[in-house]
Symmetry: C2
Subunit: 261 residues, 2 copies
């Protein structure tokens, strides 16, 4: 059966996250409903990542199978016409049978935006975590380097998803200065439940000198969520892109960051 990949951007403020919910409006559920209407057949959509309620995406990836061979140009157009403007299908392409949005993904990139200016921005405040405590950028960066690499991230994973292992590899955790504040750019081979928000929340405690850097390695070793810092709120988190082995990628991913800001 033909298999299709969708690249999706969404403004997550008014959704209860990606994953379909029995009583609440989810992004997955909203797109599945539109696909089911359009294709006149119950269609299941598999996403690469289950973003939480309030989290946004510029480059979420999902796949679905269909009985029929579809005109991707027409379906893309019709899907966007059916969907609310807060969800946009950026492109649609046929993929090989082996492609799986979740299991084939080799790398994901998240950005987390922290606002530090005392005056917030009337347009950006829904997408920024406004931190009022002074932060030490050198301390933040020093702490961030300790997260990069292959580690057991159990202290930074909330219970809630069934995983075989809590070991993951972070390829990159950069802190970039941007207008009004800083952005955490995080790339890894996979992320546990609330892992990015827990890492950012913990880093902010080190950056604000509420914890000493010496506590960080023992914190990893305790392998208990209670050891980590508070989760940073969801509204400032963006799933930027998901990468796949090039054989399953029919087009190069353009730099997605330009889509917003």
């Amino acid at each position: 059966m033909p298999k299709y990949r969708l690249d999706i951007a969404y403004e997550g403020t008014h959704f209860f996250g990606w994953q379909i919910q029995p009583h609440d409006i989810s992004i997955q559920g909203t797109i599945e409903k539109a696909l089911t209407t359009l294709l006149r057949a119950k269609t299941r959509l598999i996403g690469s990542a289950r973003t939480d309620a309030g989290v946004h995406a510029l480059g979420q990836v999902a796949h679905f199978v269909s009985d029929a061979l579809l005109n991707t140009v027409k379906i893309l157009y019709s899907l966007n016409a059916l969907l609310p403007p807060s969800i946009r299908i950026l492109r649609m392409q046929e993929v090989s049978e082996e492609f799986h949005a979740q299991y084939s993904a080799t790398k994901k990139e998240y950005h987390y935006h922290v606002w530090l200016d005392p005056i917030s921005d009337p347009f950006l405040y829904p997408y920024r975590y406004h931190v009022h405590t002074p932060l030490s950028l050198p301390l933040l960066r020093e702490a961030a380097t300790l997260f990069v690499g292959t580690h057991d991230f159990a202290s930074f994973a909330n219970v809630g998803s069934h995983v075989k292992t809590t070991t993951r590899t972070l390829y990159r955790l950069d802190i970039v200065e941007e207008r009004g504040g800083i952005r955490f750019e995080c790339e890894g081979n996979g992320f546990l439940y609330k892992m990015v928000r827990n890492i950012v929340g913990t880093l902010l405690e080190f950056g604000a000198q509420k914890r000493d850097l010496k506590e960080l390695v023992p914190l990893f070793e305790r392998r208990k969520r209670a050891a980590g810092g508070m989760a940073a709120p969801p509204h400032a988190l963006f799933l930027i892109r998901v990468e796949y082995p090039s054989c399953e990628q029919k087009r190069d991913d353009e730099k997605k960051d330009g889509l917003f800001l």
Copy 2:
């Protein structure tokens, strides 16, 4: 009595425009209420421009007088604490008695954003006018040059404000390509009621070749609003900045465009 200048940014979606309204929430009314609470004295705020319902501002300017000499740093902070996050006071400074936010203004700059990509952006759609008709950029630019200079803009002014003359000078009307579409950048010594939106709406008719360029000069000459094109909708219009003679400007206006986008 001491006089103060406020530089203000606002997300206008949920306001019935700048000007105070008897029953609806306006930006002027919201700030006046906060000032009155804070200063414990009925305070009137005079703005440089009465932006319409739904129009946004990155650099609106207003002034008010106070009985007391105010600590501008404290008042700026307290005002922002009282105001909704969709209105931000960017700075506050004492100005000379002669300063008048409306009458002293020498130049205003507005931007109007038109989205042309068939796929809208889930974050920017509230701030873009999505045009589905193909537009000729050279035609748009040729038509735009005919607006620049000193003209009687009666054909582009809605009735609704009392003005002595409908003659205004446009210093600049540029069409700049930006991600997803184009931006009209409009600078002038003053603008009549709905003038920017009427100009943009008319230009779009010429750019879409619904009207011939030969019709444009006669259109000015008819001096009747009915002659002009449809007003473009308000949600894509931004008041970018207002300029004053340098003697009344205590600090240079930094480029405001970076505030958003």
